[in-house]
């Protein structure tokens, strides 16, 4: 058994000197406390139903049996009464903002009163005549989960005390012997023979201690693993945050000089530094355009590399309305479409389309698809956008009637930097990263992305997400 134990087990034992199992957070304790109370309602129900059943005539007249239903009834009522108090205390504690210590104390009292009820039940159901003593074991197991190792050990001894108390009292003659059988079938040897009584009591104690030892050892290993996993997760989150900060800083450091250059370009272009000859104006315009492209590429490359390291579980998802996001991006895309006479027609659902998503990422995705449609449309063209909900799904479709994509390139357009020749000739100023970003964003949302296109006729991009309820 010791071979199972982790090398730093002592370290674990050292940090559990408090009443609580310190690996359990308040939230977990609240959950387990609520489960414990729920389970006790079921136990109370079983006791009361058992009492009723024992009171029914068929069992009353079964030869050999003489079960007293009153013990089940008493324990059932005690469980109901105590559980009402515990449920009230747990609710009050939850409202007041509980601490682990307070919750553990409440759980400790619950286990203690359960032991007392079980002791009454053990006595009333004839002690050794029924397997009722087994019910002490779940409480030993629960103690190892709720409390520190030392305290669960103490609780085990409290359990042993209450499990053996009826037999000791019967043996000492303090209480009369109760049997579930009539006088002809009554088992009295355990409460009358000192050797057998002692052996029996020691057997119960040994059984409960072995149970505690095994379960607490396994629990210790599991809790240690859980703690190691939590530490690893914390470390990963920390690295993730550091990576994000480094990425942002890198983006800023790379973009800031271009932003300054571009700002000067604006002052030259708009005549803030005096009038420029026409040739110089053209050069300034081209400097500005290359600046824009380089900045967009830097942003897209960093953004894409960042998205590629993410998994759906990394993505901060909240319930967002895709309808509202698309409507906003349509407005923005219309600003670049209007100078070229391109109209965007948005056919939206008349109601919200809720999906679990990152608002910023969906805005980026919609923006890239819409700008793509506008950029590759002919002047005076039309882009049609529709959002449809079908049971459980939301589908966004963006259709342009522009240059289209050669069939042999359809599978490659989502690759970063890839651009088909007709796209390069039509619109030289593109990063070639937009659709790669769209693909990554759809992947992070477990969505589906497809494209159909006809060269010279236009393209249809379709994105589907699961609807949120």
């Amino acid at each position: 058994m010791t071979a199972w134990l982790p090398k730093d087990r002592n370290k674990w034992l050292d940090c559990t000197s408090d009443l609580c199992n310190d690996s359990l957070h308040t939230e977990k304790l609240l959950e387990r406390g609520a489960w414990f109370i729920q389970t006790r309602w079921k136990a109370a129900g079983i006791c009361l139903a058992g009492a009723l059943w024992l009171h029914l005539p068929p069992l009353q007249h079964t030869p050999g049996f003489a079960i007293d239903f009153r013990y089940l009834l008493i324990v059932g009522l005690l469980l109901v009464a105590s559980n009402l108090i515990y449920a009230h205390l747990a609710r009050r504690m939850a409202d007041q903002g509980p601490t682990s210590k307070k919750l553990c104390r409440l759980l400790g009292i619950q286990v203690l009163t359960d032991f007392m009820n079980l002791s009454i039940l053990t006595y009333g159901l004839g002690g050794v005549e029924t397997p009722i003593l087994i019910l002490f074991l779940p409480h030993i197991i629960l103690s190892t989960l709720f409390f520190s190792r030392v305290h669960s050990f103490i609780m085990t001894w409290v359990g042993i005390f209450f499990a053996t108390l009826p037999i000791v009292l019967e043996y000492l003659g303090v209480v009369s012997t109760v049997s579930v059988f009539d006088s002809a079938h009554k088992i009295t040897i355990i409460s009358s023979n000192p050797t057998i009584t002692t052996s029996y009591l020691l057997g119960i104690a040994a059984g409960m201690l072995v149970c505690w030892y095994l379960v607490s050892d396994i629990t210790a290993i599991l809790l240690l693993r859980e703690r190691q996993l939590e530490q690893a997760l914390d470390q990963l989150n920390l690295l993730d945050r550091e990576k994000s900060q480094v990425t942002i800083r890198a983006t800023h450091e790379l973009k800031a000089p271009f932003a300054a250059i571009k700002s000067y370009v604006y002052t030259l272009r708009d005549g803030y530094c005096g009038p420029l000859p026409e040739k110089a104006q053209q050069v300034v315009q081209r400097i500005g355009d290359r600046c824009d492209l380089l900045m967009a590429k830097i942003t897209d490359i960093i953004h894409l590399s960042n998205l590629r390291t993410m998994t759906p579980s990394h993505t901060r998802l909240t319930q967002v309305d895709l309808n509202a996001i698309v409507a906003r991006e349509v407005e923005d895309a219309q600003l670049i479409g209007t100078p070229r006479g391109i109209a965007i027609h948005y056919q939206s659902e008349p109601f919200a389309c809720p999906i679990m998503a990152s608002k910023e990422l969906l805005a980026t995705m919609s923006s890239n698809l819409l700008r793509n449609a506008v950029n590759y449309s002919h002047d005076g063209g039309m882009v049609e956008v529709s959002l449809e909900t079908t049971p459980g799904m939301v589908t966004l479709q963006i259709e342009d009637h522009g240059i289209g994509i050669p069939e042999e390139h359809l599978e490659r357009i989502f690759e970063e930097h890839f651009r088909s020749n007709n796209a390069v000739h039509f619109n030289p100023n593109s990063t070639g990263m937009g659709l790669a970003l769209v693909r990554e964003i759809v992947r992070l949302h477990d969505g589906a992305l497809s494209v159909t296109s006809q060269l010279g006729q236009g393209s249809i991009f379709t994105v589907t997400f699961a609807q949120s309820h």
Binding site: S244, I248, A260, S263, Y266, H303
Partner: protein, 132 residues
């Protein structure tokens, strides 16, 4: 025309924006960090503050400055226009966008990404100074 305060660590951004803003009749005061910000703002009495986010000493200096100004009775009503080079849609843990503007986290009036077209900047300033 308005009295504007530009806070940015990049001298070229400050110079080029000053040219544009002064060229359109505004008065411009500049500050290259957020040290003693409250005192500076109370001395300058700007009608609007154009604020960068990432300064060399602190990548969230602009946020902190905005929160500081929002908490002071004398400065809380001065509109703040964020002007930052960080991509507003990078969805990283510490980035931000216009979606994040709120009184607690980002108590500012508007967000514009650098570089900004002079006309867009001037229009936004007008909107913030004279909301209709």
């Amino acid at each position: 025309m308005a009295n504007l305060l530009l806070i940015d660590d990049d001298q070229d951004i400050l110079d080029s924006l000053t040219m544009i803003l002064e060229g359109n009749g505004h008065t411009v005061a500049i500050k290259r960090d957020t040290d003693n910000l409250l005192d500076a703002v109370k001395t300058i009495h700007p009608d609007l503050i154009i604020l960068d986010i990432m300064l060399p000493e602190d990548s969230q200096a602009g946020f902190k400055a905005a929160r500081l100004l929002a908490k002071d009775e004398e400065t809380e009503k001065i509109p703040i226009l964020i002007l930052s080079a960080v991509n507003q849609r990078s969805n990283l843990s510490f980035t931000f966008s216009e979606f994040d503007i709120n009184t607690e986290f980002m108590p500012v009036a508007a967000f514009i990404e650098k570089p900004v077209e002079p006309n867009v900047l001037l229009k936004r300033i007008d909107q913030l100074l004279f909301p209709s």
